[in-house]
Amino acid sequence: MRQALERLVLALLLGSSAEAHIASNAFVSIDAAGRELQGSIELSIRDAELAVGIDADHDGKITWGELRASAPRLTQYLAEHLLLGTRGRACALQFRTLQVNDRVDGAYAWLPFTARCVLSARELDIRYTVLDGVDPSHRALLSLRAGTVVQSGVLGGARGALEFDLAAPARLSTFVAYLQAGIRHIWSGIDHLLFLLSLLLPAVLLRRHDQWLPVPSARPALLSTLKVVTAFTLAHSITLSLAALNVVRLPSRLTESVIAASIIIAALNNVFPIVTDTRARIAFAFGLLHGFGFASVLADMGLPHGARLLSLCAFNLGIEIGQLAVVLAVMPVVYWLRNDTRYRRALLPWGSVSIAAVASVWLIQRALLSGS
């Protein structure tokens, strides 16, 4: 009775705790180029022991000597349980020198291989049955590269086989998705637009003797716009990339507050001009902060494994496209309005004051009211 109860409690305790190592994973990467596939498989040494038995002296420890000695059996096992084929015809796997790699959950046996396929590999079938019947939760995390296209997949359990089309760039859809996300964000991220607009509104004007004068021709307006947009783009691309790739990170309360402050500064600069000819520098300096703002959106979406760079570039491009669309829509109108004194005396100053007012509310919200 007591024993039965203890088992009971055991089960209950197990349930209430969520503690665990990561489950059993193997890592397979394949680089496809023509008939020859270069690849590698990484199998945890613990899993390799279960598969073929490595601990020759049964002391519960696996030494490099034991692993090395069992390499022929291990490669034989893998050749039987990792099957690559093109259109039903098997590729011949040839394993090379065994090495060791350290990962989160211990040491792994790392085996590079070359697979020779009969047809040039446009479609690749992969069958994976390692640890079948021994650990049903074992999975192979697959990364498949064909040219610039990287695809990923999970093999094992109920899904022992996968088919990949190497010709169709499956990542194109990812690219489009992130591109759209970037465009959407610049449209919904009104704070970034207000900042940019504050810097662009005076681009069609010149500041002379404490007065705004219309530019005589399109050239200086175009040049000024180009400088500001380029500086802003360059700056936020840098920090967006750094943040998205986890190189640098700033607390969001800080970045969001400084973004709000940057709008106030840029807008007030139109009313009480201090910086007139070098607004591109403001665009660059604060653009760095805005990049961190973009990054938080990207962080919410996450970068897909194996296509981080592609997705990041797509997202950034999306932002540039969205931003460019706004510039192209606004600047011709503003250029056309430049000779109208109402633009210089009313629209620019009062528009800027309104922008600064909105941004001030954001600043207070973001800096003071946000508890964390």
Binding site: E6, R7, L8, V9, L10, A11, L13, L14, G15, S16, S17, A18, A20, H21, I22, A23, S24, N25, R46, L50, G53, D55, H58, K61, I62, T63, W64, G65, R68, Q99, V100, N101, G106, A107, V134, D135, P136, S137, R139, L141, L172, F175, S237, I238, S241, L245, N246, R249, S252, S296, V297, D300, G302, H305, L309, C313, N316, L317, G371, S372
Partner: protein, 380 residues
Amino acid sequence: MRRLAPRAGLTCGALLVCLALRAVYATPHIPAGDAEVLAELPPGTQHTSAGARELARNRLDVALPLARFYIARARASGDLRYLGYAQAALDPWLARTVSPNAAVLVLAATIQQSRHDFGAALATLAEALRLEPNDVQAWLTRATVLRVLGRYSEAASSCAHLASRADPALEMLCAQTLRALTGHLAAAYATLRDLPPQSLPSAARAWRDSELGEMAVRLGDEAAAEHWFRDGLALSPDDLYLRTAWADLLLRQGRSTQVLQLLAGYESIEPALLRIVIAQSRRADPRAARSRTLLADAFAIEQQRGDGVHRREQARFLLDVEQRPDAALVAAQENWRVQREPDDALILLRCARAAQQPAAAAPVRQFLQQQGLQDVRLEQ
């Protein structure tokens, strides 16, 4: 795509450099000598155990103890691989459509529950109880699953089924932990505190301590909580749940050094590593960066696998370590859809506040109000 390439080139070039700079903590290598030990095999993971596993295919009296052994090892070590081995012992028996066995189903449900696959666990338990309506273990496991899901009244009726079938002290423990979550925290705490530990089977004593410790945390009595956690760990040093619960208390008190002492040697277990990273970051420990990379990689792997065992920890990692409140909020919301323990409510409230999205916390507030959950941490 090609037309855009020149413009993307500059950005991507810069990014490539960044990627290359990002610390890659390991590369394949050839060890220095044959004697170098690469891995130590935990109990039951030698190839030689293949015989027992083979036997388990045809003999239920081997399959059941083997699965129980692996489940017990999973609990003691926090090693998720053991759950896979347990499942392998049960799978041939689950596949048989004729004469299904309640004990097999209950163990399968325990594995599903440990993987936070609560819906599947409930379905499996329902099947087990249909075959064996008096299965005490099935009722108890069902109560636990329903409690994690926040379905307290159903959980309470599962506990009630224990009354006539099991030890009264066990039934009381089951019922009081639920009362504590539904508006009677102080009363339930007093009842359990006054329950003599001797009246419980020895394995349940640490469980009582862990429940009392958590209740004391929710009551705001940190000194008492520490007493129960200490007591529980003395009884059951392997109890990772107790250990991390205590670590959370220490973190709340700003005692990072003690957290690192308490969790030393548990770095390979994700929930423990999470607390370690938080403590290390607070102390500006140089090991923090590496721990953070390890944990981020472990979460990334889980995500790629599609596993959701550590959703709550992931949200907390994003909030407290990565300082990405928006992403943390998404993870916490996803977690709340799956499980509703006080800690799940807490992390969602904290994320909603940090991300300045008070509306996101509405479902939690509504739940807390409906259930009458008391927790001083939620009021801060």
